[in-house]
């Protein structure tokens, strides 16, 4: 409980955004796309379009050759981004360029190896200077994350950790303790990717997480439709949408068409989120 209080007073862009959402009783929308798919210039346009359409937080996926936590859609996006020559250094330049144009909170979403090869300290410093607000590393849990957390917090970056349906209550407490900004709850066992329905176990899972933290909870994996987002009302502070957005990019005939499709999709989902209520409201 004390952790979220601390991070709220840290006043990162992420914490400020969630505080505003809570005040207005709105559920947030976190939008993920893979950086560099199909190019970093395109990603810049996509982020601006999604921010303009109401996305509250943007996650920029750093492409990796071996994305074990991702389903086919994001795997293909990573391959396209890597073929286009995307590197972590390139993604950091993109963040810098975006920060000059928008105040939307930006989270770097990566596998550990690219960050490790750049060096934790160098990565944290450059990400922070570029204007990133938070970092989520898919394959680092709090158990292995001591050095990583230290480096990020030294540079004022929020560390966001994943919680999963298989996490014990003990682990949920550990994850909450290590997380800053928000906690990312994986809705079901599995890899990223859209599904027709949310898992039946999700409400009980979300309540288990709520018991151990007052941090904002963002629920992701398998969320693609306004109906999914509405269902989360009262359970979560935000919905994370990824594969559904990446699919819009994959399907679009051109970069401007993709930007337009992303904006439309985000608007639709954010509409559902605004209609939904946050857990805070229900408790209040």
């Amino acid at each position: 409980m004390t952790q979220s209080a601390t991070s709220m007073t840290n006043e990162s862009r992420i914490s400020r955004r969630f505080a505003e959402l809570r005040k207005s009783g709105e559920m947030g929308l976190v939008a993920y796309i893979t950086a560099g798919d199909p190019s970093l210039e395109a990603t810049e346009q996509f982020v601006l379009a999604m921010a303009g359409a109401g996305a509250d937080v943007i996650e920029l996926g750093v492409p990796f050759s071996d994305p074990v936590a991702d389903g086919p859609v994001i795997q293909r996006a990573s391959e396209r981004a890597l073929r286009a020559g995307t590197t972590l250094a390139g993604v950091l330049s993109l963040v810098k360029s975006l920060r000059a144009k928008t105040e939307v909170p930006l989270v770097l979403f990566s596998y550990f190896n690219p960050v490790l090869q750049m060096g934790l300290e160098k990565f944290a410093e450059e990400a922070s200077v570029a204007g990133a607000d938070g970092v989520l590393i898919t394959d680092v849990t709090p158990d292995e994350g001591a050095e990583y957390r230290q480096a990020m917090s030294l540079h004022g970056l929020d560390t966001i950790f994943l919680a999963a349906p298989t996490s014990t209550d003990e682990r949920l407490a550990l994850i909450a303790e290590a997380s800053r900004g928000f906690l990312y709850l994986i809705s079901r066992t599995g890899v990223t990717g859209a599904k027709d329905q949310l898992a039946d176990e999700l409400p009980a899972l979300a309540r288990r997480v709520r018991r151990v933290t007052s941090l904002p909870i963002a629920v992701g994996f398998g969320i693609s439709l306004p109906g999914h987002v509405s269902v989360l009302g009262g359970l979560a502070d935000a919905a994370v949408v990824g594969s559904a957005l990446v699919e819009e990019i994959e399907r679009a005939a051109s970069v401007p068409a993709a930007a337009e499709a992303l904006a439309a999709r985000v608007k639709l989902l954010k509409g559902a989120a605004v209609a939904g209520m946050s857990q805070r409201e229900l408790q209040g």
């Binding site: 990796f64 050759s65 590197t87 090869q117 849990t141 292995e144 994943l162 066992t189």
Partner: protein, 403 residues
């Protein structure tokens, strides 16, 4: 000269700085469950008895330690002994670990087993054990490997396993592991992931090593019996490194026994042309410590941390990372690592076939190729053990091109 070695890994699954558990959160609880189940099974005499029974009566242990008299004479140096893991049921050492983990899966109440396979040997051993224990079995295999080792695909299917081709990435072992991990993260409650090498997140590198440790324990007794002393050198091929660590481990405390791992030198020194992670001294480029598929170890990669493509004529060695305990043994200078080319391995396979009447797997032929270079320079009273980790039946289509 025996010194008690410190037992690695530590409680966090670390071999020095290497190893650990770098996985998505969903897999942490199942890995902890596996760690506890294994710790219990290890202490349970009933489990050990059942495993020993199957190793003996189903797999065919102990395997012979054969004096290779004609090879020794031909090379004119060290006395060469061959540890005949190729004689085991299913044709390679892989069955040791599969029986261990298979019994563990039953103990944990898991009804479904998944595995990755490169050369197909681990897949066949897994399918075999699943059939024997009445478990459902799915094996992930890179599409390229399915082509070059298609006999093993037929064997797995005959044994009732479903073989799923993997078309992503390099279409080899690395990508098969990715796909198996994705399956596991999805079906984690019903499924045991029977990982086939000393790779992946803790407890796999320790557990797989322990199940193969029998190789070295037997070899130590056998060599003491026939030679009355410990060997001077052990030689084994290293992909992930399971057969090598299985042979080495019982000798770690004997400082006088040199350990040599042989990696795949492929067709050149440039990144992408080989799978030599520890042989930088021999000119192979591109390996640095990093995280791949759950563990921190030496990984072939680009400067910005993307995993590199690899090449080897042998599918079982065609992998960009090495088991974390090998990285640690190399750092401590307890084991040495080198690499030999595709061509040298194929030539060595032919030599062994003609001199000893044994057709080795192309993986094991790498160890032999290095020994062919080294043995003549060693004194005639020195003793070497070569781990012949598998037989070459599966490689006939590749070998046929060279005959």
């Amino acid at each position: 000269m025996t010194t008690a070695p410190q037992i690695w890994p530590d409680a966090k699954g670390r071999f020095g700085p290497y190893g650990g558990r770098y996985v998505p959160e969903t897999l942490v609880a199942p890995l902890e469950e596996l760690e506890h189940a294994y710790a219990e099974a290890r202490r349970d005499p009933k489990f050990q008895k059942e495993l020993d029974f199957l190793l003996k009566n189903f797999a065919g242990r102990p395997t012979p330690l054969q004096f290779a008299s004609r090879l020794t004479e031909h090379l004119g140096g060290a006395r060469i002994y061959i540890k005949r893991e190729d004689l085991l049921h299913t044709g390679a050492h892989k069955i040791n670990n599969c029986l261990g983990q298979g019994l563990l899966a039953v103990r944990m109440g898991k009804k479904r087993i998944i595995a990755e396979t490169g050369a197909g040997q681990h897949g066949v051993a897994t399918a075999t054990v699943a059939a024997r224990l009445g478990l459902e079995c799915v094996v992930y295999m890179g599409a390229e490997d399915m082509e070059r080792q298609r006999l093993n695909v037929f064997r797995m299917r005959l044994l009732g396993a479903e073989v799923v081709g993997v078309n992503s990435g390099t279409r080899t072992l690395k990508d098969a592991i990715n796909e198996a991990m994705r399956d596991w993260v999805t079906n984690v409650r019903s499924t045991h992931y029977l990982l086939g090498s000393v790779l992946g997140a803790h407890p796999y590198p320790m557990m797989v090593r322990d199940f193969h440790r029998v190789i070295g324990l037997e070899a130590r007794d056998q060599i003491l019996n026939v030679e009355g002393r410990l060997p001077d050198l052990l030689v084994a091929c290293v992909g992930g490194g399971s057969n090598a660590i299985g042979l080495f481990h019982a000798f770690l405390g004997h400082a006088g026994v040199k350990l040599l791992g042989v990696e795949a030198g492929g067709r050149g020194h440039a990144l992408g042309e080989h799978a030599a992670r520890m042989a930088a001294a021999a000119g192979y480029s591109g390996a640095r410590p990093g995280v791949l598929q759950g563990t921190y170890s030496y990984v072939l990669q680009t400067p910005d941390g993307q995993i590199a493509t690899t090449h080897s004529v042998s599918a079982g060695l065609d992998y960009p990372a090495i088991g974390p305990e090998h990285a640690w043994l190399a750092d401590k200078h307890r084991a040495m690592y080198t690499a030999v080319s595709d061509d040298a391995a194929v030539a060595a396979a032919r030599t062994l076939a003609r001199l000893e009447g044994i057709i080795p797997a192309l993986e094991s032929a790498h160890a032999l190729a290095e020994l062919i270079v080294r043995a003549p320079k060693m004194p005639r009273d020195s003793v070497v053990i070569l781990n012949l980790s598998g037989r070459g039946d599966k490689d006939m289509e590749i070998l046929a091109r060279y005959i």
